[in-house]
């Protein structure tokens, strides 16, 4: 299946469009998605640090999704680098 990963904060620098689309197996856990995204960025956005992806969380509109969780069915997800509000 195809998943759209919406980018925020420092990860916006990974793609000017504001998102990255990846082909992923189905089902796919968040942990697996993280690996796939890391590989993708290593090729297409090598200026993005691997550590930053590691410290980032994936989330739906409603909640943080930890590594063991499955990808939402609608194929949209956000990746949230370390936060710095306020």
């Amino acid at each position: 299946m195809k998943v759209r990963i919406n980018l925020f904060g420092a990860l916006r620098d990974a793609d000017a469009s504001g998102y990255i689309e990846l082909e992923v197996p189905e089902p796919c856990t968040i942990g697996e998605l993280r690996e796939l995204l890391r590989d993708h960025l290593r090729t297409y956005a090598p200026h993005i640090s691997v550590g930053l992806v590691q410290r980032s969380a994936f989330a739906s509109n409603d909640e943080i999704l930890h590594n063991h969780r499955l990808l939402p069915e609608h194929g949209q997800i956000a990746i949230l680098p370390p936060v710095s509000g306020g």
Partner: protein, 170 residues
């Protein structure tokens, strides 16, 4: 839920409004109101700042603000009105980035609720700050990981000093 007000404010449309926050948390039952306002300041970590852009993941930010309100209510457990609003977009020096206000019967409760809320907004809400410097350079602030797996590592590294003691200043 009418005792809680949460908002993400697009500052191209309207600035954050401390008077609205005070009006919202006022109530005949309440003798104490505490408000915290975060503003863009001139210096950070030795560099001269001219402005800050805030990026937010809006639906989850609003949900996080609501959760924070519910937590404050539960932990402090008195009648309470809470207001949390955060700016989205590009702010200049001196402009307001965040307002948190709490109205409660007594002052200690108001201080606690307001402090709890601003700490949680800073550490838990999906908000990112990009600082713009006088030399034309920009940088995304170092932040606080929302990733549980990573937080554990940070916590261990901090040798239990405090639950939140990584290197960055925020």
């Amino acid at each position: 839920m009418s005792d809680l007000y949460t908002a993400v404010v697009d500052i191209r449309e309207t600035p954050l409004d401390p008077a609205a926050a005070l009006a919202f948390v006022s109530d005949p039952r309440f003798g104490g109101i505490n408000m915290f306002i975060g503003k863009v300041r001139e210096h950070n970590l030795g560099r001269i700042v001219t402005g800050i852009s805030y990026d937010l993941f809006v639906p989850l930010a609003l949900r996080t603000f609501e959760e924070i309100c519910e937590r404050a209510r539960k932990e402090i457990d008195v009648p309470m009105k809470l207001y949390i609003a955060h700016a989205k977009g590009s702010l200049r020096l001196g402009e307001i980035a965040v307002i948190v206000a709490a109205g409660t019967p007594h002052r200690d409760e108001a201080f606690r609720a307001s402090r709890l809320a601003i700490e949680a907004v800073k550490h838990e809400a999906p908000i990112w700050k990009q600082e713009h410097y006088v030399d034309g350079d920009s940088a995304w602030s170092e932040g606080c990981s929302l990733c549980e797996e990573h937080r554990e590592t940070e916590r261990a590294a901090a040798h239990g000093r405090t639950a939140h003691a990584h290197g960055h200043e925020h």
